[in-house]
């Protein structure tokens, strides 16, 4: 029990606090019905998980999560929410039982599987002694780039990154094809603005 109160307790407490906030936010999302609150809380979830990424040394991932999860995806979700609805219909209590049982069973199976996993932060875990360690050792003489994440991303796994870039591009193209490229609405906005100004009404009301 005494080793719980050493210098290592600080990071552990940060982890516990962040994970507790994540739990609170996730349960709130599950219980809420206002879509605006749900979207905002999903942004909060992303931001807190970004803080947790920083706490486990993944600075690049934390940065990405903060920019993409908390910034971009909240903006996209808000835009979609404006186009669809504001509130979700209340769910029937009986319908919640099935998913609850399925999720509980899955959780039990996954927790049973973690018994075989190496402990959190184990330096001798197979995942940490294989390719990852080799990248760290080889990186400096191979590429001369201090940030190993960047060099793995662009050099060692450049082909992978090319695929991801194409996926992002295709997803953007697909969204534009589903919803229109936006020019039509631009023309409409300009027309209505001109009409408004022509009629002499008050500018930019709502």
């Amino acid at each position: 029990m005494r080793e719980l109160f050493t210098a290592d307790a600080g990071p552990a407490l940060i982890n516990i606090a962040l994970l507790a906030i994540l739990f609170v936010v996730a349960i709130a999302i599950a219980r809420l019905r206002s879509l605006f609150a749900i979207v905002m809380l999903s942004g909060v979830y992303s931001l807190v998980s970004a803080a947790w990424y920083i706490a486990v040394d993944a600075v690049d991932v934390g940065y990405t999560e903060a920019a993409v999860g908390a910034g971009m995806s909240t903006a996209v979700l808000l835009g979609a929410m404006l186009l669809t609805a504001r509130t979700a219909k209340p769910e029937k209590p009986l319908k919640k039982l099935g998913p609850f049982l399925i999720c509980g069973a899955t959780a039990v199976m996954l927790i049973y599987a973690t018994v075989d996993l190496p402990g959190l932060g184990d330096p001798n875990a197979p995942a940490n002694t294989g390719a990852g360690l080799t990248y760290l050792q080889v990186n400096w003489f191979d590429t001369g780039v201090p940030n190993v994440v960047t060099s793995v991303l662009a050099t060692y796994r450049g082909f992978d990154t090319m695929g991801e870039t194409v996926v992002v591009f295709v997803a953007g193209l697909a969204v534009a094809m589903l919803l229109g490229f936006g020019e039509r609405s631009l023309a409409e906005t300009l027309r209505t603005a001109k009409k408004r100004r022509g009629k002499g009404k008050e500018g930019e009301g709502s």
Partner: protein, 150 residues
């Protein structure tokens, strides 16, 4: 424009948008040394455009950054990435083997640095363009929502 109740938003936005763009490029070119990289920088640039449209209206933003430019940028980004791969093949290396760019001996890093920066530039263009296109597509659609839904 008699009563502009968004004046604080506009002034703050005007101050911040250039800073966000500069920060995006800083993250991109500093990604080799510190945390960050092209993916993050692309999203930061797209977020600057979104902030502009939130404060100045979508029509003004579409005049500043036309949707056609955004989707062309995304396509150019992918082309830069793939073109870099084929350039290394032409130089006699494997696909995306930056070492072959300047025909350096092992241990030489100029090709690696140039290759990484150019490839990440492609990622930056692709991500920024795609995210801006997505935002334009979602925000540019006319909302036909009823008032009682609010």
């Amino acid at each position: 424009m008699k009563s502009d109740h968004h004046v604080i938003l506009r002034v703050i936005g005007k101050c911040f948008i250039p800073l966000i763009v500069i920060y995006g490029f800083y993250v991109h070119f500093h990604g080799e040394v510190g945390a960050g990289g092209a993916f993050q920088a692309g999203v930061v640039l797209a977020v600057a455009i979104i902030l502009h449209s939130l404060t100045f209206g979508l029509a003004n933003t579409m005049r500043a950054v036309p949707p056609a430019f955004a989707r062309t940028l995304a396509a150019i980004g992918v082309l830069i990435f793939v073109g870099m791969g084929f350039l290394t093949v032409v130089q006699g290396g494997l696909f995306l083997e930056y070492q072959a760019l300047f025909a350096e001996p092992p241990g030489g890093h100029d090709g690696q640095h140039a290759g990484i920066i150019i490839v990440e530039l492609g990622v930056l263009f692709a991500v920024a363009g795609a995210m801006t296109t997505i935002f334009y597509a979602l925000a540019g659609r006319v909302a036909e929502i009823r008032d009682e839904d609010w």
